[in-house]
Subunit: 304 residues, 2 copies
DNA sequence: GTGCGGCAATTCAAATATGAATATCAAGCC
DNA sequence: GGCTTGATATTCATATTTGAATTGCCGCAC
């Protein structure tokens, strides 16, 4: 009869490619993994990995078994979700996965009240542009730019996040303030990578024609924002981030360059957990009550 | 992070209803299970079972987790099949699941050559009227009376096993030898349970009219055979078993009372195992070469 | 070539898990 | 009522598992 724990270890080895790497991930020592792998192989009477100096190389049988072990892991994750979902206590931790454009600034600032209100809960903000897998418990709640496709996830669309063209006062003093879009090509232009743009609702005419003349590009919205703030040039900037930046000036009569909807997502089972539910509701309220800030309406006008 | 081995133990407890029963099944001690359950429950922070004096009673969460644990077990079984399928050595064990009518006598006798030929293989004959689940590795090869319905099983029909009416010479000397079926009601009659008959190809007219007047009934073909051999009366008796029973006489001109087809079944992956393949082929040859004996042709005539 | 870094295997003392024996309790049965 | 049976929990000596340290091995860079 196989030892299921060995299978867990086996999967980690298979996914990480070496005993040492798997050991680090599992928080056990490398000799332990070495011995358990040996034991597993002796148990089944066949080799799962060829040990090389560079690490482990899977055998055919190993590949086939890996498939089933992954499947088992999915069930383990499902159980973990069940367990968390049954947790009615307002203590523990909540992991929020979030894109950088919101997570690094706005989200953190707005969580102050929550932290006061629920002192027992550890709030964990995971800023990642990669999509955390809620089904694998990589996060409890996610703020996404699109409707999630996986089943078993609950999601609601909250605010629409608009980006306008902004520049710093210092830049505009030096280079002048353009009045029409066509004047942009005379200016230093700050632009996200195309991979970012394709995730948004963008009017290509407003952006793509300029992509060749860009002065600064990045896949990091924070880096782009810093570039705008530092007077590198004119760039798309999140309206909600511009709210408390008096040095920034919005251009072209509040033109919206591109916009994304923000989806609040959680796993159906996780939402039954009291603390996750609390965070889910808190974020939902917080987002919708800042609807105008995200859309760039009230604050942007006030700044003009 | 959950300990997968705990989940295996948890499943066993869930399926067997008590720590003690699960411990026996898993070949570990009851205190071990008690401790590991406690550890698992502390790990997830919730109760899985309510401990009662009568055993364990599952909580709602336990029920939900059980479902996933079963799912994991299916994957483990799949891996075990993979492993066995990859085992090319001619050592280890082969478990044959077989109905009593063949397993207890004929099969065992005919395995002699195999055991000589493959000294490294442990042959394990599991006589059961319940159907062992090949997918769950409860057996490697099965002799069945019907075509298996599960996918992933390979099966071939081998011989047809006929049953005739037999009686011992001593009984016939005392009570006389009936010449026609209708005289049977004057005799002591030995009959299988109806549940056996319904599994066979039986002409009801030959048997059911007599069921009320039976002297001896059993669900065990061996018990029925012993009854016939002991001179209890006239009964259906497997032709192949009668081959080396000179004291038995077949009645009514080799009339076939009922018959069953014998299917040789294995799992598709298991057939890649050298030792199981060897047994599969051996049994296939052995069965077909004894076709006449099963049908009751040559030996029965010789005995007349 | 020499040294460095990453890898798996080995060694040995310490932490951990295990099983046999036992205690304790509840229910069923004379 | 007392006895038996079968369940979980507890205790303690023992066996197993683990991790830190170490060794040995290879490839790579300088």
């Amino acid at each position: 009869m196989l030892d299921w724990e060995d299978l867990k270890y086996f999967l980690a080895m298979a996914e990480h490619g070496s005993l040492s790497a798997a050991a680090r991930k599992l928080n056990v020592s490398q000799p332990t993994l070495s011995r358990r792998l040996t034991a597993l192989e002796e148990n089944i009477g066949a080799e799962l990995f060829a040990r090389t100096r560079a690490g482990l190389e899977m055998t055919l049988l190993g590949e086939q078994m890996r498939h089933h072990a992954r499947h088992m892991q999915d069930d383990v994750h499902a159980m973990e979700r069940l367990v968390t979902g049954h947790d009615s206590s307002l203590s523990g931790s909540v992991m929020i996965s979030c894109i950088e454009a919101i997570g690094a600034m706005w989200l953190v600032q707005k969580l102050g009240n929550f932290i006061e209100q629920y002192p027992g809960i550890t709030v964990d903000v995971k800023v990642d542009n990669a999509v955390s897998d809620l089904l694998r418990r990589e996060a409890d709640i996610a703020l996404r730019m699109f409707r999630p496709v996986q089943n078993d996830l609950v999601a609601k669309r909250t605010v629409t996040m608009n980006y306008g063209y902004y520049a710093s006062k210092s830049y505009l003093e030096t280079r002048g303030k353009p009045q029409a879009l066509k004047e942009l090509k005379e200016h230093n232009f700050i632009l996200p990578h195309d991979e970012i743009l394709t995730q948004t609702k963008t009017d290509p005419r407003k952006v793509y024609s300029l992509s060749r003349s860009a002065t600064f590009r990045s896949n990091s919205m924070m880096a782009l924002a810093t570039a705008v703030e530092s007077g590198f040039g004119i760039g798309a900037y999140s309206c909600v981030m511009a709210v408390d930046k008096p040095d920034l000036v919005r251009l072209f009569d509040d033109l919206t360059v591109f916009s994304t909807d923000i989806w609040l997502v959680s796993h159906a089972e996780l939402r039954r957990s009291a603390r996750i539910r609390a965070m889910y509701d808190y974020l939902g309220d917080m987002l919708t009550s800042h609807n105008d800030a995200f859309a760039g309406r009230l604050p942007a006008r006030a700044a003009e």
